[in-house]
Amino acid sequence: MINITVGMATCGVSAGAEKILDTLKGVAKGIPASDVAVAATGCIGMCYREPLVEVSDGKSTFLYADVTEEKAKKIFESHVKDKKSVDEWVIIKNHSEGPEFGYLGKQVKIVLRNCGVIDPDSLDEYLGKDGYKAIKKILAGVTPEQVVEQMIASGLRGRGGGGFSTGMKWKFASMSKGPKKYVICNADEGDPGAFMDRSVLEGDPHSVIEGMMICGYAIGASEGYIYCRAEYPMAVKRLQRSIAVLEEKGMLGDNIFGSKFSFRLKVKEGAGAFVCGEETALISSIEGKRGTPKVRPPYPAAKGLFGKPTNINNVETFANVPWIILNGPEKYAAYGTEKSKGTKVFAIAGKASKAGLVEVPMGISINEIVNEICGGIRGGKKFKGVQMGGPSGGCIPASLADTKIDYEEITKLGAIMGSGGMIVVDEDTCMVELARFFLAFTQNESCGKCTSCRIGTLRMLEILERIVAGKGTEEDIPMLQELAQYIGKASSCGLGTTAPNPVLTTLKYFKDEYLAHIRDHVCPAHSCAALVKFIINPETCTGCTLCARDCPTKAISGERKQPHVVNESLCVKCGKCFTVCNFGAIYKD
């Protein structure tokens, strides 16, 4: 029996996995299903090598990367006809060896235990991996109080960014009185540049649903909502399909597994507003209103959705729950540091050689993630730092990358653990420009309720725009710091209070870059267009004339098939030549 699976999460599909799946299904036609099975699976985590295909012949497994239609046919033939693997294309064998094994070696998969392993649309496959055993075990005789105690003992903290103890949160919600309570799963994944939650929803929706059921039992809720970004259509579909199947089997609805516990679930789509990831704004959004945050207290545990006690957790938080119940809180708490237990999933993007999804035990260092797991920086460039926690987070410089992944350690540096987005930056990334990018994002996403956030961030943004355009002054730096302080103190929700973080951390660790822009009118990363010279490399220029034709000021001249040159006195630094060049012959200095 040969099992072939194709990674079909958004990352795989974007790289062309659908065609690969069709091709494989095509060549498998006519062969009895008992001999060869071709199926889809979720995100295997190695987004940088998509499309990925895994073949298991019963004895061994072989992971193939960068698969094309041609390669897929060859792989199929070799395994099915000749009973052999195509060794030169195998990147990992038996999940334990091969050229790319370094990527997996240090990882511990709890949240991602089924991602890229099972077919996310198949309830049977989830059941085959001990699925719904945790809820069954609980319904068979564990009290809600005991469930809460186990969650507290596991040390699990909210993975949505805040890092609040999940067990304590459940305890508060369970203590609130009332016949009607709600469980909400926050699947808004607002950090632009993070995709952990999407991968879990696409690759293993049932683990999240089971986690929500356990929570419902623990706090006494019989209804739940999953609030999912509309930008994740595949996740929404898989959730809806999974819920429909469960309802059909009676695993969602009244008297689940013959117990007194009833639970129903609905999926609500978001509509593209970052602030809706904030729990009170999210609740307003489910109620059909504008997503503006409310002042807490009252916390949702006391007064949440439709005014009823509500427990809200992140996708990754819920996905941990069934594993903790089945394996015991002690086993979970054995991973990690004193105050940060278990594992954390990171979405690695940016300039790392291997961008993808990694799940690591807490306590591992940033360096280990970037250099050992993700193979350092692409193209041998110099590692400059990581940005953690998205627009609410901060930059940690390479010099401090030995810091351990731990809520408190990271907060000490001025950054936050965040939900798990980790953007790796190299010498070519301008830190002032990166801070400007994040501030432009929060400025745009501010709901407008608090003046400090609505107008304060705009004033900060204007200053940063001046600096990257080479028009900043020395007074701008204390002004940024002062504004940051006011905004941090005077805004009501987390969006405003954390908005200055990217600016504050870059000012703390990369002040020389700010000063270079202001004093010397130089962008040390050669990135800010207004402060660089565009130069054509005569070695690589083919004289195709494309840049000369596109230049709005006719600053580029040269004969056809001869190297061109930029006339500096005419250049307005629009950067068009740099983007249109097909040969990478134009560089910035």
């Binding site: 632009p192 540049g193 509509a271 993007a349 961008a355």
Partner: protein, 168 residues
């Protein structure tokens, strides 16, 4: 101004078919007495009509018995809703962090030039509407763009023309 109809005086009987309008009524009927109905109604109505001009907002406000200001407030709050007509294809350029540091801005600039529109606008022939999004979750393949539901990853500015020419 590019195909941005002044949507307050848009004639909905010309812009939409009677069937489309009937579907909107049905959607309102379906959600009417449910809590939190507004956003799902808007979502489904936009699916049917592709955009939600002011007269439609009035119909929805009337149907759900909500003040028009609340409906307008919600539509303009969420970037998912649009009050102007759309092209056959929506091009969404990801400007999330991961795509941004890998050159998403250059991709965006190139598409703007290629289509000769700004963000939120539709080309004169109503073929393409240009939008930006923050992270669609394919960061590992950045920079990426969405054309309707198709994702194109690992893009280079020079490849834009090729990608867009596949849609007609």
């Amino acid at each position: 101004m590019k195909a941005k109809a002044r949507n307050a005086d848009i004639d909905i009987s010309k812009e939409f078919t009677p069937e489309q309008l009937k579907k909107v009524d049905k959607i309102i009927e379906k959600f009417k007495d449910r809590p939190g109905a507004l956003i799902p109604v808007l979502e489904e109505a936009q699916m049917v009509l592709e955009f939600l001009p002011m007269p439609i907002l009035k119909i929805i406000a009337g149907g759900l018995n909500l003040p028009l200001s609340q409906v307008y407030g919600v539509v303009t709050f969420y970037s998912f809703f649009t009050m102007t007509p759309r092209g056959k294809y929506t091009v969404r350029v990801c400007l999330g962090t991961a795509c941004y540091v890998r050159g998403g801005k250059a991709i965006y600039d190139n598409i703007k030039k290629e289509l000769n529109v700004e963000e939120g606008e539709t080309t004169d022939d109503r073929m393409f509407t240009l939008e930006t999004v923050r992270c669609i979750g394919a960061c590992g393949l950045g920079p990426v763009i969405f054309v309707n539901d198709n994702v194109h990853g690992r893009l280079k500015p020079a490849k834009i023309k090729d990608v867009l020419s596949k849609y007609n």
